[in-house]
Symmetry: C2
């Protein structure tokens, strides 16, 4: 039934299980995924998973951690130099390239973490990312005479932009990531550039 594969070293098996696990979690979501499927795909029996990761949450935590670390590094490198305008575009391109090259990891990061884990709401990475962007914005806002308190709004808006566009692109695959990155970077840049000092409501709603 389940033809067992070759015997691997501990570290090699660990690496393989992380890969397989990422694929399964991406496809089924955390709750929907089963260690049974992961073990089967890896041509291994279930106890091996407990041996290496202690259980479902352990494996998931390792996968999440690696994926976050990888994405953050990739973006950090891409924005290490250049004008602000260039950095915005580089960040967008780095993010979308990640979406293209690692669709499974992206899927996991955008899906919800297990409810039991601390953090409550959504995947913590995107929030962390937004937090960092927000800090950068807050500094720039203060220099430019804007209200620094509103920085988180724009930070989350930008993260949401690229995330949702990335999700769409995963299915559409139509314009190249380079082109898409150019568009959303332009949208974000121009939007921020021409922001009124204190955006007040244009129309008052009656009722």
């Amino acid at each position: 039934m389940t033809p067992r594969g070759p015997r691997l070293s501990a570290s090699a098996r660990r690496a393989q299980l992380v890969d397989v696990g990422r694929a399964v979690f991406a496809k089924r979501g955390y709750e929907g995924a089963s260690l049974e499927e992961i073990a089967d795909r890896a041509k291994v029996s279930r106890p091996v998973l407990y041996e290496h990761f202690g259980g479902k949450e352990g494996l998931y935590a390792v996968i999440i951690d690696r994926e976050m670390e990888y994405l953050v590094r990739r973006i950090s490198e891409s924005i290490s130099a250049g004008t602000p305008r260039e950095r915005v575009e580089a960040a967008a391109l780095a993010f979308l390239s990640y979406v293209k090259d690692h669709p499974d990891g992206f899927a996991i990061l955008t899906h919800d973490a297990p409810v039991t884990a601390a953090g409550g709401g959504m995947s913590s990475l995107l929030n962390d990312l937004a937090g960092r962007v927000g800090d950068v914005f807050a500094a720039s806002f203060k220099d430019a005479g804007y209200d620094a308190k509103t920085a988180p709004i724009y930070a989350h808006a930008l993260i949401g932009m690229v995330t949702f566009v990335g999700q769409w692109w995963t299915e559409a695959r139509k314009p190249s990531v380079e082109e898409v990155a150019g568009h959303i970077a332009a949208l974000a840049w121009m939007g921020l550039r021409h922001l009124p000092k204190r955006p007040t409501r244009v129309a008052a709603k009656k009722g």
Copy 2:
């Protein structure tokens, strides 16, 4: 153990179960939720759920459908009149007000649907919404001399903006929805207003 509540009419029970189910699905996600918990909260035994909705997916489908219909109606009404600029802001405000008034429904719509259902990727509502916005954009783009093929990018970017900001606001709750709507509407409007005819990459990446 489970003190049974009063006897209700079929339609009243149905309505109650939809309400309770929405709360539970919002808290646990589709896979994580159990009919057992829903039945318990409703002071009813499980078979009642099967009687009314045929099963887990049936109940979920009803909840999703109602929630989508409600949100679309709310947004549609809000953008029925005014200048384009006003409509953008009204749409943002309508969306964020929905987030504020119906956090459970919003949570469900942003979470993933059951994998078995057709549609594959993410919650279909947000995609549908983006599709409609994209159509509107495509028309405007053509009139203004922009490439209509890029309209979906901007449509999804805007939906992603408000969605992610909405998710953040659910936890932050700091600036009022009116103020937040003003900010993201300004960002979106100014960004679109000052878009270059053909956004090309500003910096070429080496390596």
